[in-house]
Structure formats: C-alpha cells, structure tokens
C-alpha cells in the first residue's frame, strides 16, 4: 500500500481517474490528502517548473524518440531566448506539429505535457489542451465552418489546439467544407502567432497523404513526431503501472496469460495499444469482483489478487478482440 502512495505518478493518476469518471471529486480530494501526507509531490510548483513537465514525460513508458525530440524543443526554446537576451539573431519559434501514430500510442498525453512545458517556458500563456475533431470544426452550411473553427481557436488561445484525425478535413474533395476549416485554421495560426500552437494528429499513412495533398501545410508544421506502437514489453509495463495504481496485482500465471493475450491480439494497429491493456485490466477487475462478491472473510491479499480466470473470462465472452485475431 505504501508503494502506491510513494508512486511519483500518483497525482497524475488521480487526475486521470477523475477525468475519466472513475473517481468522484470527493474521492479524488481524499486521495490527494492521502498522497500528500506521505509524499512531497512533483506537481507542486517549484519556481522553475519546466522540469516538472519533462519529468512527467520521462516517466511515461517507452516513447524514446518522442522524449528526445521534446528535450530538443525545450533546449531550442531556452537557447533562442538566451540569444535574444544577448541581442543575437533568433530563429522564429514555430511549434506547430504533426503527431502521427495509431490510437493509444500516447499522442494526446504527450500533447498535454507539451502544453504545460510551453507554459512553464513562457511560450504559451495557459498551456491548456483543446481537443477537437472534424465535427467540431466543419459546419453544415456556407460560413458555418469558419465560425465553428474560429470558436475552437478562441477556446485554444494561449494553449494547444489538438486536431484529432486531422486528415479527415481533406476528405470529400474540393467542395467539402473541410478545406474551409483548414484555411481558417491556417489564417488563425498567422493571426495568433505568439498565442497558439496547433497539433494535427492521426494515423501515419493518412497524415502523410494529407500533408502531401496540402503542400502549404507542410512548411507550417515543421515538427513531426511519430508515435510507434508499443512493444509487448512496454504494454506489460503499462499494465503493471495501471494495476499498481489501482492496488491490484496479477498472479504469476495471470501475468503469463496477459502476455499471451496481448501477443495473440495481433498487430497493435487493430487493438488500440495502451487502450487495449486498459480494457483487459478493467474487465479483469470486474470479473474478480464477481468471483469474490459472495465469499466471506476476504483478506486484503484476496481482494488485491487477480487470477488467471479473471483475465480469461472477460476475454472469451465479451471482449471485442476475442478469439480469432491470431488466425
């Protein structure tokens, strides 16, 4: 139990659980006080906060290249500022980026951390993340699109506008309003040069095609980060982190079964990467509850342990990825 409270990721986990509706505000507040009692925490501002965001990024599983690139960006921003202080010529700070990768590879998580990093570096005033997709930007009649897009831009000012599945703006050809959304976005990027960072995200192939078919965009988004699929070992590490956070643990056989399940789930493209891990674990937690609910005199040990049958049960009966994926 003490381990959980010492887990440096703990505060972030509480926030994520609250955001996802797994904790009520009251439960989250109680947890905060518990964490706080045992652990002086990372999220408490220290004055030179830029290390917080980097430390958080580094605590994510895998994502080696992403971490290196973010380090480069941070160094670039700081050095450009030092050059400015000495009156030397500076490179323009264009931080608009394209994130490519399959679902569940960490694009949104990294974007959120980048927002905080930029805020701590003084590049953005707020550093919040506004997540939008095609339906949030594209309207139904002439003029509606520009209005909707500008509204989302307004919400994102001082922070990051994260356009998920951005390639879908280019579908439907010349007459589609998606093109108008792109034009409005590009104009907003020029109008709010110092106050807005736009990140376009989506599958790698689709994003490459999208940028190829809109040559003007490529130069406006100088940063390209690819999020590779997690390896099996990384997925298992993620599972471990999720379980520890929730104060559960797997028996040895259950661990082996989890590895086997992830392996047989097939190419990560179809399985949603980290999201698949989360689904399997949440299902197993529910199955464990069903197994225990009618028993009496449960020990803490029993309440924490997930057996192999808890994992399998959900998998065989009601998992969307069940069965024949390995064929």
């Amino acid at each position: 139990m003490v381990d959980l409270l010492r887990d440096p990721m703990n505060l972030e986990h509480i926030l994520l659980d609250l955001e996802a509706g797994r904790l009520s505000p009251l439960q989250a507040a109680r947890l905060l006080n518990q964490v706080d009692a045992t652990n002086s925490s990372r999220l408490v501002p220290s004055g030179d906060g830029e290390c917080d965001a980097v430390a958080e990024l580094n605590s994510l599983v895998g994502l080696r290249e992403v971490k290196e690139l973010v380090q480069e960006l941070r160094a670039f921003v700081i050095v450009q500022r030092r050059r400015a202080e000495r009156g030397l010529a500076t490179e323009p700070l264009t931080l608009h980026a394209v994130f490519s990768g399959n679902p569940g590879t960490g694009k949104t998580t990294v974007a959120r951390i980048l927002g905080r990093l930029y805020r701590d570096l003084g590049v953005l005033a707020k550093g919040h993340l506004v997540e939008v997709e095609r339906a949030d930007l594209v309207g139904e009649y002439i003029g509606h699109t520009a209005q909707k897009t500008r509204e989302q831009v307004r919400r994102a000012l001082g922070g990051i506008l994260f356009v998920d599945e951005a390639y879908s703006l280019a579908r439907g050809g010349e007459r589609d309003f998606g093109k108008e959304a792109i034009d409005t976005l590009v104009k907003a990027m020029e109008d709010h040069k110092d106050d807005l960072v736009v990140i376009l995200a989506g599958y790698r192939g689709e994003m490459e095609y999208f940028l190829r078919s809109n040559p003007g965009l490529r130069s406006r988004f100088p940063i390209h980060i690819h999020f590779p699929d997690y390896t099996l070992a990384e997925l298992l590490a993620i599972a471990d982190l999720m379980l520890r956070k929730r104060q559960y643990r797997l028996t040895l056989e259950a661990k082996q079964m989890l590895a086997q399940m992830l392996r047989s789930a097939g190419p990560a493209v179809s399985t949603g990467n980290a999201r698949l891990v989360r689904n399997i674990i949440e299902r197993a937690i529910r199955r464990q509850a069903v197994r225990l609910v009618d028993l009496e005199h449960l020990t803490a040990e029993q309440l924490m342990t997930i057996h192999v049958e808890d994992l399998c049960h959900g998998w065989r009966t009601d998992s969307p990825h069940s069965g024949g994926r390995a064929e």
Binding site: L11, I14, L15, L16, L18, E19, A20, G21, S24, P25, L26, A28, A29, R30, L32, N33, D36, L43, V44, P45, G47, G122, A125, K126, H128, V130, R155, G158, G159
Partner: protein, 200 residues
C-alpha cells in the same frame, strides 16, 4: 525568466458559489489600488459578467487566467495570475463533461502557488459537498497560502458557514459579497499580503 516567479492564485469552489463574479470584483478592486496594474481590459471584464449570465455550465472546461502586476519600489514587479476554475459538483453529475471540468479544476489547484477557496451560503452545512470543500481546503492549506472566502455574505446562512469554515480548519476565513462589493477591497488587500507576500 525576467521578473521572477509568477504567482498563480487558483479560485476554487463548487458550482454557483460565485467564483467568476468574485474574480471580476477582485480585479476591479486591484485595479483601484496604488502600485497594482491589472492586465485585463474593461471590455473583457464585461464579457466575464456576460458569460456568467449565460450560466457557468455552458462554458467549456478550461480555466480563465487574469494577469496583474504589483510594483514595489526598487524591485521587478511581482506578477500574479488569478486563475478562475470550473465549479465542482459533489455528488458529480452524470455527464462526462462534469468530470472533465473537475479534472481541470483539480489540476489548477495542484499547480497553483496560492488558493482562494470559495464557499457560499446557498449550500447547506451537512451536505455531501461540504465534505469535498473540507478535503480541498485541507489539501490546499497544507501546502500553499490559502484563504477561505464565504461569498454572498448578504444571504442568510453566511454567518453559519463562516463558523463552519473556522471550525474545520485554521485557515483564515473572510465573508464578502461580490455582488454588493462588501469586503472585497479588504479581501484584495489581504490576498496581496498573504498570498503574494507583496504589501502595497
């Protein structure tokens, strides 16, 4: 960075305690103080008021930040941000938005260097929400300079709420009314002294 660290004062509380109007009133009071420059224009303040009329629930879950500077002699200005946060609901509503908003508020609280925790007498002692208030006041005051503000002090029940707040925690409590401006100037003064340690 030039100007030293930025003080972020999070204004946190449950829905409909009048946080946004309190922020507007505080900014106005600050702008009237000598040596303080509020970097928000009047037009923007009017919009905040308007937003409130539209109902805080219609707002997307983001924080709104308002900057001000305190100029003390001989030194760089002290820069403060007042961070207005989405209201918390306990028990939470069913909608996903409600939890997202709560996460935004919690994040702002964790990242703040000081906290104004807002209560209002429309909320009765003994309800579940007060447990949330108590936990959050305890969390905030354990780590950061914190002030508890009982807003809407012109309504019945305010005195009882002040007593409750004094009983549960040693944090200083002030009763104000953002609507009538009662106690606002003193609160602004106290905020600068205690939360920023920048006496004007």
């Amino acid at each position: 960075m030039v100007g030293g660290r930025i003080h972020r004062i999070a204004v946190v509380g449950r829905s409909e305690t009048g946080k946004t109007l309190l922020v507007v009133a505080l900014l106005k009071a600050l702008s009237r103080m000598r040596g303080v420059r509020v970097l928000v224009n009047v037009e923007e303040l009017r919009q905040i008021r308007y937003l409130k009329v539209g109902g805080a629930r219609e707002r997307p879950p983001v924080v709104e930040e308002y900057r001000f500077q305190v100029h003390k002699s001989r030194t760089d200005p002290v820069v403060g941000h007042i961070v207005d946060t989405p209201g918390l609901q306990e028990p939470p509503g069913r909608r996903r938005e409600c939890f997202r908003a709560a996460a935004v508020t919690f994040r702002a609280l964790l990242e703040a260097t000081a906290v104004l925790y807002v209560l209002a007498p429309t909320l009765h002692p003994g309800d579940q929400g007060l447990n949330l208030d108590q936990e959050l006041i305890r969390y905030a005051s354990g780590r950061r300079p914190t002030l508890v503000v009982v807003n809407k002090c012109d309504l019945p029940g305010a005195a009882e709420l002040v007593r409750w707040a004094r009983r549960v925690n040693r944090t200083p409590v002030r009763a104000v009314s953002a609507l009538t401006s009662e106690g606002i100037a003193e609160l602004a003064q106290l905020m600068l002294q205690r939360l920023l340690r920048a006496e004007v």
